[in-house]
Amino acid sequence: MPSQPPIPPLLSPYLSTAPSASLTLLTSTLGASTNWLVLRFIYAGLKNTSYEKDGSTKEYTENTRVVLVSWLRDGNFWKEGGRKLGINFQKVQIVYALSTGLGLGAGGLAEVETEILKAVATAREVTKENGEARVLLVLDGLDFLLAATGCATLEIMELVGAVREHVHSTLLTSSADLPFTQSPTTALEISHTAFVMGMAHQARIIMSVRGLDTGVARDVSGVLRICRGAGAGDEVDEGDGEVEERECLYFVGADGGVRVFERGA
């Protein structure tokens, strides 16, 4: 198989610059991870390229920095995957949430907020030299804190709200396995469902990956569903691009290259 372009053409309209104050929600399941998608969002964000609907690209001048906070993977994992794509990690501020156990110590969620805001401030300071600051915040696996600390959903949502105010746009990943979203019964299931659905109500785009409904296939890794979130209408007044919904298949190759294609293609 020839090497794949870093951004699959079908996905390019969705990865282009998100409008200010917007939230993008990615959900994963145990069998289908969003890591490849997160890397592509970072890549597209740093490229300073917005992808138009007709497939053409448009360069813009604002400098973008990424603040990546991951509770599920360490920095090396992201750097390794990112290097294959050609992400310049000079422009990515990584908060080592996994190795430091961010949010699990005595500081709790308040510590998470200070750490993230510190990283955002650093990223912004760097950008200031080259003009206007624009920060894309990636919160990977924030739902882990719900399970690990048992804090209330509302506290986590308020944390997300507090940090969102300081950045241009936010990318949030969360797991959406069956027990975490379907007829929840235990306290953790209820708070997890509330968190995912609460974020879905704020999100502009919701991208969900899941395994194939029909089982495992050699040439398909899973299904990607892209929907307009409940927050999609927030910026319609300003004539921002509409989100086109779509369900397609994807395949992550051994070399990390990703192919996204329509069903039956």
Partner: protein, 324 residues
Amino acid sequence: MADRALQHRRVHNLLLIQKLLGLRGDSSPFTLVLDTVEQSAKPLIRHYINNAKISKTDVVYISFETFKPPLGIAAFIKTRRKDAATIQKEISSVVSTTKRALLMFDTLYPLACNTNLDLPSFLSSLVTPTTSLLAIYHMDIPLPPPPNPYAPSPLTSLEFLATTIFTTHSLEQVLSRKRAADKSLAEPVFGLEEKREGVIIGLGSNDPKGLVLEMNHRRKSGRNIEEVFFLLPLTSKEKPLLLDDHPLYRRPDLGDAKSAADEVAAELSSTFDLGITAKQRRDREGVVLPYFDAQKDGFGGGEGGRILYDMGVEDDFDEEEDEI
């Protein structure tokens, strides 16, 4: 007859929805909007904000999950990490006592989570003769288990309190359910109901081309009016219409057959029309009953009733048999 019923609904219910959306009079002091992630209530909110300008009402937006203040509102209150008392204080500081105001809550989830707060009485305390309330409740966000398992959920109490309840649906999903029902097939399910691992939202959600709005309006008399509308986006400048009138929902070929069937059914149930038209009512009011004449003084007062009859040309009067 079915046509007339539809026409009646069209006239009355479309007037009602425009009155509600236009905030005319104190038509609905507390409007509760139930939405899901499949169809957000945000487009409906924009209609309200737009109409508030025309009806000279201040919109006070109490934001729990909105970051950008919508255009055209009078005040934007951020609520993050504030308790109910502080929020209440901030609301009362921006609401004027003379000008009409509409308080808009973009979600009630944070308040409903607060077990120390009696949500119905908190909301009722905000409603005044000049201030009405509109609150969005997300149906798909589960609340933490209540401390008292026998107490009614906040949603139940709110539904009792509300004077109008709107429920939003996605047009595309409503249409595909109807298409399946028309063919007697199992209706498709969307989003969380799909019960598929990793699916939280269905295709056809939050279509910018419009939404289906289910209304349940309680009149002061206690009668409630239910109707389903199709609400176009604000940019189209079109008025809402009945969902039954939507060209994609109504199927003309089936529709005629159905109304014919309705007429047959109506004829079977009664042999005459119990209704009365406006002209018939006017004519009936104009009729002078004999009893009124009998009550006049000097005309057989106290003598009991008498039948008055004016002879016409067509009457064949027989001296021997008939008497007046």
